[in-house]
Symmetry: C2
């Protein structure tokens, strides 16, 4: 049997796992990143975690064929170099080479959202479908594009920045410098901003009962208000879903994937989010839904998506 | 030597040519489409045109390895079927099979904008670059996506509808039913609409001297007015270029291609269009222009792009 190591590198934890050829996790664990340390130390810990896991799972190192890493930031996956990540304050770090030194097997690196996209495509929500796009709604809007089972990254892996496509020219300011990005309307951060604004405009809204301290508004607040029948909250939810639908339909019309997979906390809303979202997106599909339908799904691998995806990314590269 | 037939099927003319392996046209000609006729007759004429061209160029039919067709509408390129085109009023027409009957070589079909994208990528403006996106600014905004030399069409060839991605939620009505599509702001039709509106608002504008009959406004009018120093015209041009830049930057951030190639009449403006457009797009590129630059170019093959691209599409498929 061939096994692959998957590593999900974060600002707080290094998550590692041993994954089989079918995307099943045999064993997983995590250690602190200690991000203030030199990258060489972090790389050594990544390798040590994998070697420890292999030992604990009784897997011979010779059966470990390769390792994949999902890293934050801009990653040149061809050369295994982290070009830039503000999470770890890294610039041009040759991470693949450094980990390989300790691990002795080929090491491949991709962006963390890309790794999650590969995970959901290979072993998660989209595993029945050759082509899928993963859209994660968190602090920002990240994503990954899988075409016929293979990750699409663009020139120098700099593509797939789906959060930074403008859906409203001249609109809401985005962290990237542009105005009106998809991320500025559909991220959890954006939903929170939209909820707060609505609360400030409507002091009578039930949202103030659900969350008396406006600084504690989160991505659930507006949905809770809508569930309680508050009109202001309903409007926030409706607008949010419209923006999300517009961005998703744009991706659908460009890529016409078999499926679009949503990740992030807001997906916990389940059908409250998905049913109206599907309806809106389907109305926006160019040429309609009959000829080439696009499924709208919720991610199923949760926090394991990056780890499983990184392992499969390595499996595909060797 | 291997040769390939390229056919550009339009509502008025069937353009055909014999193309070598390097994308050079040996001979080309055109015949009337006669679009009111049964598709079988049109297919027979397409084959007859190619056989006639081969004869005139002294090419043995045995050296003709395949034929490619660029067709308007939605095309299932895998099966060689035109799913729907309003230009010819066709539904589910098995065009590849029908042409093959007469021609005796493998026949492949793709959408006309896709064929042009392949042409510009293989032998035109983007021939130095592995990945490019072709954006044509005409009645609508069409396009084609070439990744590492291969056309990307999406599931059932229904993707690459770049004109039907919303850049302004709730904005200008589009022919597709959505509001705010890239096409509704960046097509020649949109530019004409923007020019007319500006003229109606400003009866003193020099645009009225350039084009006294508002029904005769075309894609050049606003540029002519701007060149004459008319403020209203300058504003129209500036806004148009902004919209165009936003849509192009969206594509750049998603695909991070090596180049984006522009086609359509408005490109005749040359640097008047390109210089400010490049500046704007470069400012919108995620992560800046240094790491993974995107060249902005004007199409060079003109009306031959579809023919050359269709031939190369066939060359790649056999």
């Amino acid at each position: 049997m061939n096994y692959f190591a998957g590593i999900d590198l974060g600002g707080t934890f290094i998550k590692g796992g041993i994954v089989d050829e079918n995307g099943n996790i045999l064993i997983k664990d995590q250690v602190s990143t200690g991000r203030e340390r030199p990258y060489q130390d972090i790389a050594a810990d990544m390798a040590a975690l994998i070697l420890d896991l292999a030992k604990r799972a009784n897997i011979a190192v010779s059966d470990l064929k390769a390792a994949g890493i999902g890293s934050p930031g801009t990653v040149d996956s061809k050369r295994g170099v982290i070009i830039y990540t503000n999470n770890l304050n890294w610039k041009k770090v040759p991470l693949a080479d450094e980990v390989r030194k300790h691990l002795g097997v080929p090491v491949f690196v991709t962006n963390d959202a890309n790794a999650a996209a590969v995970g959901e495509s290979f072993a998660g929500a989209a595993k029945k479908y050759p082509s899928s796009i993963f859209v994660t709604l968190g602090t920002g809007v990240g994503g990954g594009i899988v075409i016929d089972g293979v990750l699409f990254e663009g020139n120098r892996s700099a593509g797939a920045e789906i959060g930074h496509t403008v859906i409203r020219v001249g609109g809401e300011k985005c962290t990237c410098g542009r105005k009106g990005c998809f991320e500025a309307y559909a991220s959890a951060t954006a939903l929170i901003r939209q909820t707060k604004r609505a609360m400030e405009k409507d002091r009578e809204s039930a949202l103030w009962k659900i969350c008396p301290d406006i600084d504690k508004v989160n991505g659930k607040t507006a949905f809770d208000g809508a569930a309680a029948g508050d009109k202001t909250a309903e409007k926030v939810v409706k607008n949010y879903i419209t923006y999300l639908a517009e961005g998703i339909a744009n991706l659908a019309n460009i890529f016409r994937p078999n499926a679009i997979v949503l990740g992030g906390g807001v997906c916990a809303q389940g059908d409250t989010l998905l049913v109206p979202l599907r309806k809106k997106v389907n109305r926006m599909l160019y040429g309609g839904t009959k000829y080439a339908p696009v499924e709208l799904l919720v991610a199923t691998l949760g926090n394991d998506a990056g780890l499983v995806g990184a392992a499969h990314f390595a499996q595909q590269r060797i």
